[in-house]
Symmetry: D2
Subunit: 344 residues, 4 copies
């Protein structure tokens, strides 16, 4: 069994890791840390886990204990992995970071968006961006993974085929994204209350959002050059799910767009290109490590519309983290990730 630890396990990505790992045939959770809840049984905070992990309680973060794990997940706010990852790596423990700490290669950009200096620039050379559909081979060899953000996963997967094929204007991409409220985390904030967020829809961060530079970096890699991206996220009255609606302008005859997408993801176990004309629903991936895509070309004009849905907590966070783990430890890619989505 591969021994893993989880740092910062009280948030939604933490409990989702536990849910997925409960059924993973090759993984044992050895430690889960939380400063605020140290001493509390995991199943007390998350009663859905009663009957699983009955001996597991949150503990104070302890680098020595964590270093006895084969791998450690960080499900923490930004900055924490900066401080702790180096020590673990030095002791031979691999790190899978679900936070934003190692996603941006440009430390100045990181400092700009997160309002503090980058805390571990010396580790950036080791950090692999954990999007398996792009970096599978590097992930297999990696010791430090930056798991992509939720919006960046949905947007990149939807645009990769078009940018790699060079058929859209990379300078004028629009990503209109809708997220469930778990994207805002488990913090007690008034705008996240059911009384405030349900029965309503709103945009936020229309003038700039922290996921923008991450998406831009990934798209630029695919386009082999800078991209112009307008990204507007919206808060949607549901618990889980991201729906990205992506707009690009065709600059050349793309041929059969459906075939382009199907070819690109033909061997990807966690990307589902739906039949032509489909409109994927976020609920069709609820709880599952999947991105479902559909590509449209309204009126056979020069605008291509891609619809991309994921569960923000699974393919957008914890499931993708487990996928990375499976690759790093040469396990079946589907291990722990083979359950169908729950619907209705």
């Amino acid at each position: 069994m591969i021994k893993v630890g989880i740092v910062g396990g009280t948030g939604y990505t933490g409990v989702e890791l536990l849910r997925l790992l409960a059924r993973h045939p090759n993984v044992a959770v050895e430690a889960i840390t939380s400063r605020s809840e140290a001493g509390m049984a995991v199943s007390e905070l998350y009663p859905n886990l009663r009957g699983h992990y009955d001996d597991l309680a949150f503990s104070e973060p302890d680098a020595d204990r964590l270093a006895r794990c084969d791998a450690v997940f960080f499900a923490t706010p930004h900055g924490v992995a900066h401080a702790l990852a180096g020590e673990l790596l030095d002791k031979g423990t691999r790190v899978i970071d679900l936070s934003a700490d190692f996603r941006l290669r440009d430390t100045e950009e990181w400092a700009h968006w997160y309002g503090q200096p980058h805390g571990a620039p010396q580790l950036l050379d080791d950090a692999i961006y954990g999007l398996p559909e792009v970096n599978r081979e590097q992930i297999r060899q990696a010791r430090l993974i930056a798991v992509p953000g939720c919006y960046p996963t949905a947007v990149q997967l939807g645009l990769l085929p078009l940018l790699e094929a060079g058929v859209i204007d990379a300078d004028r991409i629009i990503a209109d994204c809708k997220s469930g409220v778990t994207g805002a985390g488990r913090g007690a904030k008034v705008p996240s209350l059911l009384a405030e967020a349900s029965e309503s829809m709103k945009a936020y961060g229309a003038s700039g959002h922290r996921h923008l530079p991450e998406i831009r970096q990934g798209l630029a890699d695919a386009a082999k050059g800078p991209v112009g991206l307008t990204f507007v996220p919206h808060l949607t009255p549901m618990i889980r799910g991201i729906h990205a609606t992506l707009y690009g302008r065709l600059t050349t005859d793309p041929g059969d767009l459906q075939a382009l997408f199907e070819r690109r993801f033909a061997s990807e176990p966690f990307v589902d290109v739906m039949p032509a004309g489909s409109h994927p629903e976020t609920r069709s991936v609820k709880g599952a490590n999947l991105c479902r895509l559909a590509v449209h070309r309204p009126g056979d004009g020069d605008t291509v519309v891609v619809l991309s849905v994921i569960d923000n907590l699974v393919k957008g966070a914890s499931g993708q983290a487990v996928h990375n783990l499976n690759l790093m430890f040469d396990l079946d890619e589907l291990a722990g990730l083979d359950a169908p989505a729950i619907m209705p």
Copy 2:
């Protein structure tokens, strides 16, 4: 008192007319028709109306009875107003049609989208498109009003200032719209069930939607020339509300966009330009005849983003219909429409 009738009152726009008119100081509802529910008391179908309209029951449509009204609202599926409006107009009753029957000036386009020939082309010259922010003076004189659709209202109001000022590329407009489920009406359809539509988000009609030609027609009027529009509607898990996120490419220095919007709607009682940097929420207009707008220019680049929210049943349907009535009968524009939105 102005005597009004409602044809097809069992749907959501019908009950919403009754809710608004219950407090209108100058209007009396004389008749409400429904073939399916003839004989049933209005308050039996809509218990929120118990204590109001206690003597009002649905009746079979009867042109003579309706013609005794000063005005008749059609809250019907398309085709019904085609068949009945002419007779009422001939008898001197004014018609306010909430359906799509008289919205498109091009009868062939109408026939294309609605799958049947236009039933009353001879009335089109009389039909005024009931968007008061554009056609206020004509509405005052009109005898036949085509109340705009919900999406078209939200999209046009958000784009009018930009197109009238000629500052965006009219050929590349994107309208990404999110609607609550009442937009699909009160019909019993599986995709509209709570078990199917809640906790999920999906696009629909990405390759073409009936509101597209209506929006295009209105925008072309504002732009004084044809427009290129990509319109993607989405079903959102909430009862009421439309959030339109509108993207345009600036082709010239627009100056102060905030001022442009504020000027355009300075004297409009039902359009609220929010302060710069705002993100309007659909719940801030729930139950109210209002469009709230915010304009953004991310990164001071050449893309302008407009956020436009309405209650699809009020400013997107029944409230706008009452506003038209107020104008046609020279009443206070706010009569019956002065209640604040309900929040939370």
Copy 3:
């Protein structure tokens, strides 16, 4: 115009008072206080009010300024009205307290449930329990009103006819109540997050809840003797609404239960006894100052089941407070409270 002030206006009962008073023909809001938001425009916190109260901002609580009002509403946590009401009453300003401060006649019981001594026992003789269906005449003369709690309103109205008629065993009453999340207020608490509270149902306070003694006191008055009550509240995934399901054991032939209820509330403008066999929905009173009731006797046995629904923010709080104001100032009882519920 009657000049009113609101103390503690940032919570949900505060904004609901503003929403209702915006359309009240005889009332002007002169002041609204909030320590935390002093200086902020009301419409900044509550954008649904933009266009109403545009000159009104939250101010620091100031007894002199409040005392210039004819009446002051307290929409505050418990304890605040204790501290401030006396001074206002001394200066001739009438007080309508929406908190629990003056609801219980027994100060020891108050201290037990609220964990602090009662702060103004000397005012209790003046305090009238503001349930108009019971105390209408006293309310007319009152200078200090204790507006009933939300659960107590729904439960008492549903049980009054049975207890007053003496037809059920007062010793074995069960009130199973379901409330929307606004009942928990606008505080930022994890269990009230959409991500936690939606798609779920749970009981709380099954072993004891602060509304229990208030309900017991009111029922005892009706029964003219002590009552035995089991009260279990539940958190329901909706914004507004309380559904009380009340169970009593018939101890005598009650005759026609439907007639008993209809007679009891025949002249009550805000209680609607629905037809026999009905099942009132909370949405049928959303936004309206109404309690809708239905009475059932399953299998003609000896158990009577009463279904009672209110909007917890209206008939369960702010609407009832306005009703009290109308009575105290000899206004039309329906002033400001005549709008139908919003549905769907």
Copy 4:
């Protein structure tokens, strides 16, 4: 592998069977029937299953084909299993019926509640009521299982310890139950629309519901005598989940209620007695085959309150059906049923 068929697979219990069986190590789904959708791929109707069952399509019901299965699930409206079960049993195929066809032992009562004569009285002697916590040994030997209804499962599990111990008055039991909308099935009915059922709460069937006789029968078995039960179901604005709040009057000193419950279910893998003072949430069992219980005795009085939650589609239907299958074929009871609930 055990070969199974599913009759009537288009409803919610059908898709839930497929979801659970997708991960069952010992079961292969050989056939799934639907008259209305014959020919359609399963994953077309239920896109969450894309990637699973890719060769499985709905077929016309065909007794010969179904009889080649080891077991057949009926996920059909009442009456269907009456017509078809006998033939399958004769051919040696075991039947697990999720409908109400074989739940009531009294055929006249069945006819009364379902409005038609019982169609297969000769099979009743073979039918075992599939509540493993009561009938585990008989289920192991059974060839025909009547899977309990959702409400009956939640109510019986919560009351069994009390009735078996004889500590409550069996004549005055109250079951106040709250169900998510999937309890009403996938039929397109107006009251089940999101626009109608969300943001609202209502009781239904207060004067009588089809699950009443089933619950009464099960409770009477536990009490070894007739019981008096008042059962009021409520429609709750959520997709999945039942919350049963159960009230009984203690007739004798019950001793330690918590211990009583823990003892009763000590060896039950799918019943979780939560710690004293708990309030189980329906979301803590979402997607999982679990009943979580908590027992309260408010004010140490003579009323006992039991809180019982299940996922109506899992422990209340398809999961319990799989549990029965596991028992009948001597498999691990947890096979296919070991995944934690999904939360948030």
